[in-house]
Amino acid sequence: MARITLDNLAHSYSPAPKGDADWALKPMSLTWRDGGAYALLGSSGCGKTTLLNIISGLLHPSRGQVLFGDRDVTTLPTADRNIAQVFQFPVVYDTMTVRQNLAFPLKNRGLPADRIAARVASVARMIGMEDRLDRRARGLTADAKQKISLGRGMVRQDVNAILFDEPLTVIDPQMKWELRTQLKALHREFGHTMIYVTHDQTEALTFADEVVVMSEGRVVQAGTPQSLFDAPAHTFVGYFIGSPGMNLLDAQIAGATAFVDGTAIPLAAPYAPSAGRVQIGIRPDAVRPATEGLPFHLVRVEDVGHHRILRGEVAGTPFNVVVPEGEPIPAGFDRIALDPARIGVFVDDWRIEPRERAA
């Protein structure tokens, strides 16, 4: 197991990249500690699969370095990296039994038979497949197959990291939850470094200690699920994470006050004036129906069980408010109040800090 460092990494599929658009991955530096659970989150085409392929050794980056511990593995082939990978579609050796599947990586590395048998037995217990060890892999369900490919990775005790490439895509919904819980438990118990690629925020936020959000080949934010939720560094993160996502409104800032369409909104701290497009962002659950404040035009109410979503508009921009269960919605309200402590300010899509904290 090892710490993983991405140092100034960038990749382009074209041999002579010209503009920004030619880079599938824009320069990035990240460090992942040994034994952490990380998620790469982003919509399709954001570069997360490219990044995963660079870590697994399928692709060699155009620039920068990949370090496992202190060892530079940038140009090493997959086989020499000592990683494991679980793919989008279950990859098992159809003609082998479950036992043979699990033993295969060890056999190829020439381990003695008794060590192999012991490892296979303990991995089978971990993934809960002891009772099916002598079944042919071909006939198993998709989630069982995914467990086998996970087991094939964990059977080697010295893996540097286990990579997951949207591993729950073909799994039935009820099994998804079970498999994810099991994964989490395995991580807690055995402490492998795990990197989980997904476009599903629930999967990323429930699985990872730290989530790396990517958009258009760029890492827009890396942080704990809580920090992504509370303090998104980029409007994309604010919008992408949370359901519904963060509300964003064009505004002018003067000190500790923001003006939206002429209405003054108090902020928690003063901000330095800045050039560019200024927006304020607020989570739908930090907004309350009110009798005075920002004018709000309600379009419809959605009841989603444990809370209700008020869909509407503020100054012509779609705006959502979340009202917890049990709390009444005042009839005919047309104003909303924003919690000053939870308002974020964004300039040209990037979050800026208040004046004194920035200084």
Partner: protein, 289 residues
């Protein structure tokens, strides 16, 4: 596949096929059955002969010999073309201009009329004007496919390999193309050897197309007629007289309709039987839990 609705009116859609196939298969086959149980003294007068012709055919040394040659020939063809076809498929370029070019060049022998295939090899193997025969003679081999049974067999086998290996290779190639990259990546991670990748990934994934390849090559090699007929005419002696050649000799050459018809039916049944055995064995192997 499982949840198709039951609709017996679908028979109307199948009707045109039935009419055409009735005309091109059922009626001729009935004629064959009819001949197989009758005898004639000419003048279109027939009388019932029961299973006499079948008995005669089943006891005929001549047909036993032809059947033996045919089985040996098909066995050799399968033993060469299936492994060679797989090997070629593994070495074909995967994409790009070369892949297209190789595909087209490989398909070329498949679209040459069968007697022209025979002609090509008949000429190619001649010692006086053919490159192959001439080269072999120049190297000191006493090669003559017209007089020497071994040379005749070798020529016909090489010709069939030339003619049909590409079909096996193209089928396997299509099977290989459908394997997702993730399998190869997983094999790299597991440090599988090249042999391991072939044995545990490529071969299992080719199973379906391989079955088709084996069946097609078996059936077509078992029915081979035109190519050896052009090259050797069934000779020297009867050395390359395969079942179809013998049958045509009997039916059209000697006009022995009864025995030829009985022979035909047995021939057809043997093909069906062996194909069924191949099919059952190969699918059973794949389906074992």
């Amino acid at each position: 596949m499982m949840d198709k609705p039951v609709n017996n009116r679908a028979w109307f859609l199948v009707l045109p096929v039935l009419i055409v196939v009735a005309f091109s298969a059922v009626i001729p086959l009935m004629t064959v059955v009819n001949y197989s149980v009758q005898d004639t003294f000419g003048n279109n007068q027939f009388f019932w002969n029961g299973l006499g012709w079948f008995q005669e055919v089943l006891e005929s040394d001549r047909i036993h010999a032809a059947l033996g040659r045919q089985l040996l020939f098909s066995a050799i063809i399968l033993a060469i073309e299936i492994p060679l076809g797989i090997f070629i498929a593994l070495n074909m370029p995967k994409r790009g201009f070369w892949a297209s070019l190789v595909l087209v060049l490989m398909a070329l022998p498949l679209l040459i009329p069968w007697n022209v295939v025979g002609t090509i090899w008949q000429v190619f193997g001649r010692v006086d004007i053919g490159l192959l025969g001439h080269t072999l003679a120049a190297m000191g081999f006493d090669y003559n496919y017209v007089n020497d049974p071994v040379d005749a067999w070798a020529t016909i086998i090489v010709m069939d390999v030339w003619h049909w290996t590409s079909l096996v290779a193209l089928l396997c190639y299509a099977g290989l193309q459908s394997i997702p990259d993730a399998y190869y990546q997983a094999a790299r991670i597991d440090q599988a050897s090249r042999w391991g990748v072939f044995r545990y990934i490529e071969l299992p994934k080719m199973g379906g197309v391989l079955l088709i390849a084996v069946l097609l090559r078996f059936m077509d090699s078992f029915m081979i007629y035109t190519e050896p007929f052009v090259v050797t005419g069934g000779g020297p002696g009867n050395a390359t007289t395969f079942l179809s050649i013998d049958l045509v000799k009997m039916a059209i050459g000697q006009f022995d309709l009864g025995p030829a018809a009985a022979f035909s039916l047995i021939y057809f049944l043997v093909i069906l039987l062996i194909s069924w055995v191949f099919y059952t064995v190969m699918t059973a192997q794949r389906e074992t839990p």
